[in-house]
Structures are given as structure tokens and as C-alpha cells.
Amino acid sequence: MTRLGRRDAFLLLLAPAFVLWLDWHGIRTWFHQDDFAWLSLGRRVDSFEALLRALFAPAAQGTVRVLSERVFFLGLERIFGLDHRAFHLAALATQFANLALLYWITLRLSGSRLAAAAAPLAWSAGIGLATPLAWLSAYNQILCAFFLLSAFACLLRWRETGLRRWFAAQCALFLLGFAALEVAVVYPALATAWCWLETRRVPRALGWLWLASAIFAAAHMLLIPKPAEGVYARHWDLWMARTYLQYWSLALAGNLDPAHWPVPWLPRRAVAALCGLGAAAWLVAAWRGRNRLAVFGAVWFTAAIAPVLPLRHHVMDYYLAIPSIGAAWLASTALAAAARSRWFLKAATALVLGLHLLYAGASHRATTQWRYQRGLESRYLFHALERAVQLHPDKLIAVSGIGDELFWAAFHDSRNLLGTRICLDPREASAVSLPPGFPPIAGAFCSPPEVAEAFRSRRLVAYRWENRRLRAITRLYVHRLPREWQDLPPAYLNLADPASARWLGRGWHEPEAGGRWTRLRAEATLPAPDRSGRTLSIHGYRPPESLTPPVRLAVRMNGAEAGHLLLDPSHAAFHLELPLPAPKPGVSSIRLELEVDRAHRAPGDRRELGVVISRIAWQ
């Protein structure tokens, strides 16, 4: 084993210093996009059961990344609130540990301090780490890299010492990797590949790792529903080879637009081709020369990128965070080998590596700065919304002027942190595009009946996003409110509220504490739904002693029966949900009729009683 000395302490600091320089914007980036969804997890935790649900219930695309998403966001948000610095410090600390592990592993496997110092630098310069260091929702990549590298370091120590505790530590770290990112499933392949490359035999104990991966993969395949369309749809076909090459191209030469190429006359694709040829030539030479770490680098890249190859429409730079460790080994071993070679090999290696670092590093920097700007805009909008909520805590806040980018960067998810209904003006729906396969975003837009009701009850506040500030425009907004909206009935009727009488037709008694009694038949008016997929919901009650034999409650919409419910003593308090028809041009309201087939007579009450309705709403 190569022992670490004083010189290593200096070399170990090189990569962290480089990261601080390259990612200076990234590590100060504020929350954006999915960050808000994770930050809002804590808002729903009010009991031990809710905490367990927040930690373990499958979320986006059915993932359960307990440590890297749930514990990371829940814990830090709980302690530090919305102070992004605490989150970035945690991410940075993990990444510095990764860089130290990579140094140690490279030194151990190559015996070259040049390679050991170069590998963390090459990894840090690549485009794969730009997003994970800037976007906190991609911390899963950094934490998973930590578990994979530390498990691999334990494997090396186990093979070196034969002590079982290193094997046990490896298993524990590997299993923890599943709580960070699903990519951990490839670790047994990595461990097996290294053992085979080193001694041409594979220890039987690694079978346990394969078993764990097989169980995880099977559970993932069987239990997690996979989208059939959209960006997360999986395509198991030859296109995966193309996606594989696409990732190599991205890793070698970044993703900059022509306007931002470091050498304006040298296209990115040409750099990718040149670096690709150089890497392939070095790989062949390394195979022949038994440079195991270089070959292992190619295996690592391939195995770590394999799980995302079926996602042909979701090629993301941050998916390269872990595979790029393999690319860094290829680059660092080539550098170490070139240092011992003739001048023309030195020059060729310097040219190829220089171009790679120039293009990948420039892409890294550009990605980081883009994220930083996105975070900055999110921060302005979120704090402005927070201020608006502070000023108008119980109002409906209708916002306009939010473009597509800011909608996805901040508006859509950050509203959940603010506890007041904040929505976009429905007339601006066309300003926001919904990527295929994404869940519906209708909830982010106010519905016209909602605006009308807020206007009537003097709860409407309107703002327009201008120059990074929210400008109150309530007077103007109300002034320009379409006339047809102002007369829309509310989409939510609280029948206990005497004001609901305005929207009720024949067949209702006076309001009481929990709602209103209907007669045998009662009518109400609701606004026509603003889009397809809305559901009508009716909450009500009838005393159980009046439900033998059962009573039939029929619901009609605009004269046609839409559904019915059989009320028996076990369903005295009922909740009926019915799908609403799609909107029709020129139809602005729905006439709702509720009818029971038998009246209830209460002792001492001469009224004809149907059912008590507490609320009617569509959502």
C-alpha cells in the first residue's frame, strides 16, 4: 500500500481549492426548481407517522432517496430554515470527502502521485459536477458518489488486509448508497470488474453484493410504476448506444453553444471526436500495457451511466457526476503515462487533455453561472411572494408577468411553502409550457370562479412581476376583470353560510350550523369547469335512523343524471365525487339538482327534509 505523507496533504488540497474557484457561483446558488418541493416536506410533518411518510413514501418518479433528499432537506430545513448556505456546506463537505477518497484510491491503484493529484482535478473540471454542486436537489449524485467511492476504498482495504470488517464496511456503505441514488445498484459490477482486472479472479463474497443489487432492481422494477411516455419513459433499444456516445461527447467536450466555444473556430463536436479518439487510443494502449486503472476507468464510466441510458429524452449533464470518475481515471493515468513517454506523446496528451479541460471546464462554468442566475431570480420572487403573503395573509394572491423559466424555477413549487393561495392569472396560461410527461399544473393558475369569488368577498389581491419586484396592481386588475367573470358563481359553496343562498335555487331550507337541509329536490348553480378533469364533490349527512330502508340520492347536471348514491345507516355522513364534463364554449354554469327518493320527518319538525348538504365544490 502507498502511505500518505506530507506531500500528499498539499496535493489533497489542490482539488478542493480548484472546486472553490470553479464553482464559486455554484456553491452560493439559492434554492430553485425541485428544491422547493423538498423544502416543503417539513410543512406536512405534524406527527411521527407523517415524519415516516415524509421519509419513506415514494416521490418524484417513484424514488425513495431517504438520505440524499428526505433527510438532507428535512433535517437542514428544520434547523436552518431557508438558509441555503447550510445545505451547500453539507454538499461541499461531502464532495471534499469524495475528492480525498478519489486521491487515495488513485494513488493506491496507480502508485503515481501525478495521477492521484490529477484525477480529482479532472473530475472536478468536468461538466458532471457543475449541477450537483449548484442545485441542491442533485445532492443525491454527490452523496451516492461518496458511498460508491468509500465502499470501493473498503474493498481495496479488504483485499489488502483480508480483514472481514472492511468487507462489512463495504457492504454497509454500498447499502447506504441505495438511500442516496438508485445508481448504487451498479456497485457490485464495479467491485467485480476491479477484482477481475487485478487478479483475474472474483471473490465469492461479492455474490452478496450482487444479491442485494438484484433484490433492489427487482423491487424497483415491480413496485415503482414506470411512465410510458414523457421524458422519464424508458426505451430499451439500440438508441441506448447512441445515448451512450452522447454522454461521452458531453463528458469530453461539454455542451456549449457555438457562441460560447472557448476556441471560436473549433467546434465542440470536433473536440469531442479528437478527445474520444485520444481516449480510445489510450484505452487500447492501457489494455496492452496492463494499466488496470485506465481500463477500470472506462468500465466505471460505462457501468455508472448504464442505468440512465434508456432515458433517451432526458440526457442531463448531472447524470455524468458519478460516471465522470471513470473518465477522470482515464485522463489522469494518461497524463502519468505521458509524463514518462517521449516528447511527441507528451505533446499529444497535453493537446487532447488541454482541449478537454478547456471545453468541459467552460461548460462547467457556464452551467454553474446559469444555475446561479436561476437561483437569484428564484430568491427574488420567493421573498417577494413571502412579503405579499405577510401583507395579505388571508387573501387570494393573483400574480401576472411570470414567464416560463421563472415559473419552473420558482413559482410552481415555492408557493407550497407560503401557506396562502397564490396563483397565476389564468389568462397567462399560454405563457407556461408543460413538458411532456409532467404532472398537470392547472393548480398553479387561479380559476375564473375563484377570482370572482375573491373579488366579491374583497379577498382579491393582484400583483405583477416587474424588474425583480412584485408590484401591486389590484385596482387595475379589478378594473380589467372580464365582466363575465364577475358574475360567475363560486366553485365552492359552503351551505352553512347564508351568503350561499345567492347560488341556490328552489328546494332548500334555512342554513344551520352544519349545512342546509334540502327538500326532496334542491337546485344549485356552479360555474362550468374551466378545463377537463375537474371533479364535483358533495359532502352531506342524513340521520341513520331515517336510512332504513336505504335512500337513493340522485345528482343531475343540466337535467341529465350524473350519478347517484345509496345512503344506508353505515353511510349516514357521505362524500360523493363525480367527474365533471369537459368545458363547452358558451356554457358558463352548471345547474345542479339533488333529489332523494324519500323524505325524512323529524319529530316536532313539520318540514319536508331530504339530506343535509354541508358543501358542494369542484376541484
Binding site: 434547523i79 421573498h383 419586484r469 412584485l470 408590484r471 401591486a472 389590484t474 385596482r475 387595475l476
Partner: protein, 176 residues
């Protein structure tokens, strides 16, 4: 299970370490209360009553309007429920005289159109629009202005330009 419960208790207690949040009041621009009955389009302090249809100020502090623009004006107690007049002071630069020749300005309050006003040509003018008492029942009004002609985009200018607004005033129908 006890360990989980302990962890949960610590987690719940940790919230006490958070600092209270105080959003920056400068991040929202609230509507002025009360509204002023006289505003100067070149005065940044009055900007919040220039609601729509005004371009960013030029280097001298003046600004162009769009062909349609809206302002809010306060209705002082003494004008509430009485006939009044809106005065709109503006400039048509010589360079725009041809485009805006015969310009007619239409003003409306609460969708109620006021008698139109015809501009005599280039120069600084004050357009006056009588407002019936019925439209002045509340503490403020929104006034929409519409120009029947404008300077179309040309050269490097991509905006549709109206006039250069100076002042908007709500005054008694007959100044005493």
C-alpha cells in the same frame, strides 16, 4: 422504535434554532394609500399611479406613453360625488408632429367614455375631460386613455409610441 421517537423529538425541537424570517419590504411595491389626485409622470414618487402603458423613463426623466395607457387618480373628499374635470398635460415633439397630426384622445373612467379631445398639433397641451359626479363616488378612479394614432416602430425603435405625458390632475369642474 424508541430511537425513531427520540430522533423525531430532536427533529421537532430543532425548529427552535431557526431564525424568524423578515421579508424585505422593498420586494413589493404596494399601491399608494391614499391615491393622489395630481400626479407627475416624470416624478418617480408618482410612478405607482402610472398603472399601464408607460415606457421606462428616458435619460431626462421624461417617458413615452403607449397608444393606450392607464393611471389611477385619487378623489379628494371635496370632489366626492361632484362634477369634476381630468386634466392631462402632455407634449407632442416636433419630430412626431406628422405621425400624430389630428390626434384624438379618448379617456374613460370605469368603462364610461368621456368626451374626446382633439390635439391642435406639436407642442405642450392640456387636454381636459369633464367627469360626471356619478363616477366620483369612491376614493379613487382608474382612467384609461386611448390615442387614435401613434408613431409606428421604425429604424431601431421597436415600440409603438404615443405622446410624452407630463401631468394628470383631477380638479373641480369649475376652478374657483
Amino acid at each position: 422504535m424508541h430511537r425513531f421517537a427520540l430522533a423525531a423529538a430532536l427533529w421537532l425541537a430543532a425548529a427552535g434554532c431557526r431564525q424568524a424570517r423578515h421579508p424585505d419590504p422593498r420586494l413589493t411595491l404596494e399601491e399608494p394609500q391614499p391615491l393622489q389626485s395630481s400626479i407627475d409622470a416624470t416624478n418617480p414618487a408618482d410612478e405607482l399611479q402610472l398603472l399601464d402603458g408607460f415606457y421606462a423613463p428616458e435619460s431626462g426623466g421624461w417617458r413615452w406613453s403607449a397608444p393606450q395607457f392607464t393611471v389611477s387618480l385619487g378623489v379628494p373628499e371635496e370632489l366626492r360625488g361632484k362634477d369634476a374635470r381630468i386634466e392631462f398635460e402632455f407634449t407632442i415633439p416636433e419630430a412626431a408632429a406628422r405621425d400624430l397630426e389630428g390626434l384624438v384622445i379618448q379617456a374613460s373612467v370605469n368603462q364610461h367614455e368621456l368626451p374626446a379631445w382633439r390635439s391642435p398639433g406639436a407642442g405642450t397641451h392640456t387636454a381636459a375631460f369633464p367627469v360626471p359626479a356619478a363616477l366620483l363616488q369612491e376614493d379613487g378612479i382608474l382612467v384609461d386613455f386611448t390615442l387614435d394614432r401613434f408613431i409606428p416602430p421604425r429604424g431601431g425603435e421597436v415600440r409603438q409610441l404615443g405622446v410624452i405625458p407630463m401631468k394628470f390632475r383631477l380638479v373641480p369642474a369649475r376652478v374657483q
